[in-house]
């Protein structure tokens, strides 16, 4: 984005913000491949509870992660109004099931605040940092943690 090597932290980044229940989260827009409506998924046997199943994304088999369940906020009851954010994590493409996309933000990395020291291990595990914007708190998701560890190794 910027050629200035001495101030990499100043380079603005864009984030896609979305809602899960009443909370707001975001992911780096560079990881987002597309955003699509919800479609029923095919259940995967022996999968963790937060893996909704797999759907057909133009011929590729795409696993869907219920982000609400993954963050420990309870399993989502998906409806037509839910949204799937298709993200690229390393070599894999995964769909994240969220309530709705709320915003596209332009921030600089130095605006990011460290994750508040809350007790919940789950929350700290998946949140890289938080942004404070116009009175809202938006948490940046650590995408690498979203898929279960063994699944990533197996692939």
């Amino acid at each position: 984005m910027s050629d200035t090597k001495d101030a990499p932290s100043a380079a603005p980044i864009e984030l896609v913000a979305f809602r899960i229940g009443a909370q707001e989260y975001c992911v780096d827009i560079m990881a987002v491949r597309e955003i699509r409506g919800w479609t029923p998924a095919t259940t995967l046997p022996h999968a963790p509870a937060f893996v909704q199943g797999v759907i057909n994304l133009r011929g590729a088999v795409l696993p869907i992660v219920d982000l609400s369940a993954r963050l420990g906020l309870g399993a989502a009851a998906p409806t037509e109004r839910h949204v799937t954010i298709v993200v690229q994590i390393a070599e894999q493409v995964v769909g994240l099931l969220v309530d709705a996309v709320s915003d596209i933000l332009t921030v600089t990395p130095d605006q990011m605040r460290v994750t508040p020291d809350v007790a919940s291990e789950t929350t700290r595990q998946f949140v890289k940092g938080v942004f404070a914007m116009e009175g809202r708190m938006i948490s940046l998701i650590e995408l690498d943690q979203v898929l279960p560890q063994d699944q990533r190794e197996a692939a």
Binding site: P45, H46, V54, P63
Partner: protein, 750 residues
């Protein structure tokens, strides 16, 4: 050149090597069977020569040295100086094996033990020593000897020659056109101006060999053009400074001459002209040296030109056209057009193209999408009013037909003949026959049968193992064969054919057949079957597929490599294939493999399990039966069995195994269907599903790309409604269920 481009060239070279090696071996096998026509011998020579040439370019000296000895011997066979007797042919075939080894060592960058090839090189060189007549060739320089032990690469053998000439201007009387006129009058005279560039020598080609080759086409007169030879103090000993002015009287056409230079056309300046009449010749080319000089920069101007597009593209019907570059026609535009037309005529349309496998796979994926989309469209229209319109339904039918055809054509791109695989087997047969001291003849049939590339590749190991087994265990020792009234030489037959949408490969031998008492005794001894088990003959034969079974009492180097027939069976299963053994005592055994033509699609049974749609591979299903209360028997605490023709088969609750619901006993009152499957190890099980929906071909999609392995699931597919359906891994399901049956506590925890 960037290292990337070089790596790519290298890759292409090795790919071509594989083709040349296959060509070489099949040619040698034909020669062994008595084919002595020059076509075959030439093809074999060309194959070795191409490997050598390419190897030279990549400075693979070992490969060049060995190929050189090989080539020398072939050259002598070609020129009838050496007779291709059985012992020589045997050595030649071994040489082709060694050459293949050297190529693969070079590809992997491995060091090669000189003992591997030097002995054989000496042996072949020994044959050359006994040539029928001393090589008499006017063009042979003193520096060149066919002494095969001289492993110095060709350029070195040739470089001393320029030194032998006094670097003084010489009168070259033969350059005057007079003798050419005589030749031209005598018959079809060709004037060939040939100036090798240094690249030619660097690729281990030799001008002398080429000249000698030319001589075989007719009466030849060669004049060496020394005009480029610098004074001695300025002489680059590695440089190329000689040109050759050749007059050839031959009844062969220009194409034949061009073929001689086939491998080095890029690396030399070459003009071939028909000397029609002295007058025309004089007008067109007053001085060959001038032409050579004029030619020099030409290849640099058009570096992108392929070799076949060299100025004088051969067209016998239009001999004067060859003069194009020397004598420019008036209209340059027309000339360009003609040259293009000639180029097209000179290079026959290539029979094959090299395509990146990724591109083919992308195409296959897209066509898979098309098939799914077509099914979805058809489903949507059926529900709508459009279905009543004959134009719509007719169009849909046609679309269905077309997509199916496209799919088949695309799959055919990946299809490859089994020939290279079968050729590898002939090598295995030679090796094992040598090692065991048995006499074996391999008969192959149906080697042009085409199968998916991956299937061909993954068949290599199991097939090798089975061929080894057939010779090592199947065939008797020569003395035993004679005692049994059989010919000393055993026969192993390898055949392939398409049969109802699958490929069937059979490996049979005329050996002793399975020793059933022994097999049974071993199986009982190893606790694989009960001592009092009732086994049919075919049951006993198939015991050899059980894990942990191996009939050799002593571990032999050939088949006893720690892998048994169970591994073979597992690899065949992994390809959705099946394997059977049929054996007759004293007459031999026959293994039959039945494999799918492609791994991209699968014949499956679409079933419903607990509301989910799943696909069971048809290859695993033996039969289906209803869950009839009369057939079901409770067995133990949580298990049940179902009666089939031969006995009782354990029941597996598919839904429970996949974790869709808690484990419970399947009862007679349940609705559902049992899929009788045969799994690894030969055992039967009955998978219980709720209903069978359909039986159809499905496109296989990977689950592992974006997710990972799922126990009990082999892959996924996309059905006509656009939803993903999982393909069951029957073997894994059965193994899991069996594990659960013995260790219920662990299974519950897992």
């Amino acid at each position: 050149m960037s290292s990337d481009a070089l790596a790519q060239l290298r890759q292409t070279f090795f790919e071509e090597c594989d083709e040349q090696l296959a060509e070489l071996e099949s040619g040698l096998l034909q020669m062994q069977d008595g084919a002595t026509d020059s076509e075959t011998v030439n093809a074999v020579f060309r194959a070795v020569h191409s490997v050598k040439g390419g190897a030279g370019a990549f400075k693979l000296t070992t490969l060049v040295s060995f190929a050189h000895v090989f080539e020398t011997a072939l050259d002598e066979i070609r020129s009838d100086k050496l007779e291709a007797g059985p012992s020589l042919m045997k050595a030649m075939l071994r040489a082709s094996d060694v050459l293949a080894d050297l190529v693969s060592a070079a590809r992997n960058g491995d060091d090669v033990d000189a003992a591997l090839w030097r002995g054989l090189a000496d042996e072949i060189a020994g044959f050359c020593g006994k040539e029928k007549a001393a090589p008499v060739s006017a063009a042979a320089p003193a520096g060149f000897t066919p002494e095969p032990l001289a492993f110095t690469p060709q350029p070195l053998a040739f470089t001393p020659q320029p030194m032998a000439f006094t670097p003084q201007p010489m009168a070259l009387p033969s350059l005057t056109p007079a003798p050419a006129a005589e030749d031209a009058q005598a018959g079809g005279g060709l004037r060939i101006l040939f100036r090798p560039r240094i690249e030619l020598y660097e690729k281990a080609n030799d001008a002398v060999v080429l000249l000698r080759e030319l001589e075989r086409l007719g009466a030849m007169r060669v004049t060496c053009d020394l005009s480029e030879v610098p004074p001695l103090d300025a002489l680059d000993p590695h440089g190329a400074c000689l040109g050759f002015d050749i007059r050839l009287v031959t009844d062969r056409d220009e194409q034949a001459v061009r073929e001689v230079f086939e491998f080095c056309e890029e690396d030399c300046d070459l003009v071939i002209r028909r000397e029609a009449a002295p007058a025309a010749e004089a007008a067109a080319a007053p001085d060959p040296a001038a032409i050579l000089n004029a030619l020099r920069p030409a290849p640099k101007d058009t570096p992108a030109d392929p070799p076949a597009a060299a100025p004088a593209a051969g067209n016998p019907a239009e001999p004067q056209a060859a003069d194009k570059t020397a004598a420019k026609p008036a209209d340059p535009a027309r000339a360009a057009e003609e040259a293009a037309a000639q180029r097209a005529a000179a290079t026959p349309a290539p029979a094959t193209i090299r395509v990146d496998l990724d591109r083919v796979d992308r195409l296959i994926n897209l066509v898979g999408e098309l098939v799914i989309n077509q099914a979805m469209l058809a489903q949507a229209v059926q529900g709508a009013d459009g279905a009543r319109d004959p134009a719509v339904s007719g169009g849909l039918d046609e679309l269905d037909q077309l997509t199916r055809e496209i799919q088949e054509s695309v799959m055919a791109i990946r299809a490859q003949p089994l020939k290279p695989l079968f050729q590898r087997m002939s090598r295995i047969v030679r090796e094992v026959a040598d090692a065991t001291g048995k006499k074996v003849r391999l008969i192959t049939d149906g080697e042009w049968t085409e199968v998916d590339k991956t299937v061909v590749e993954r068949l290599a190991d199991p097939l090798t193992h089975m061929i080894r087994n057939a010779i090592d265990h199947g065939l008797e020792k020569p003395a035993d064969r004679l005692a049994a009234g059989k010919p000393e030489e055993g026969v192993v037959r390898l055949s392939a054919a398409h049969r109802s949408g699958r490929v069937v490969i059979q490996i049979s031998d005329d050996g002793a057949g399975v020793n059933r008492e022994k097999v049974r005794a071993i199986a009982v001894g190893k606790g694989l079957v009960a001592a009092d088990a009732q086994l049919s003959e075919s049951d006993i034969d198939n015991l050899i597929f059980l894990p942990g079974f191996s009939t050799t009492e002593k571990i032999s180097a050939i088949s006893g490599r720690g892998v048994g027939m169970d591994v073979v069976k597992r690899s065949i299963h992994a390809l959705s294939g099946r394997i059977f053994l049929k054996s007759r005592r004293g007459q031999g055994s026959e293994f039959t493999l039945s494999l799918p033509l492609t791994l991209a699609v699968l014949d499956g049974m679409v079933v419903t399990v607990d509301g989910q749609t799943l696909v069971a591979p048809l290859s695993a299903i033996v039969e289906t039966m209803s869950l009839d209360a009369g057939r079901l028997r409770a067995f133990g605490a949580s298990n049940a069995v179902i009666a089939d023709r031969d006995g009782f088969v354990p029941i597996i609750d598919t839904a429970a195994e996949l974790g869709f619901r808690a484990h419970r006993r399947v009862e007679g009152g349940d609705k559902g269907v049992a899929l009788l499957v045969e799994s690894e190890g030969g055992g039967r099980s009955a998978l219980v599903v709720d209903a069978i929906q359909d039986q159809r071909q499905v496109v296989i999609k990977s689950l592992e790309t974006n997710y990972g392995r799922v126990p009990g699931v082999a892959a996924a597919t996309i059905l006509g409604d656009g939803r993903v359906a999982l393909i069951l891994d029957v073997d894994a399901l059965v193994a899991r269920a069996r594990g659960a049956a013995t260790e219920p506590l662990l299974a519950a925890a897992g």
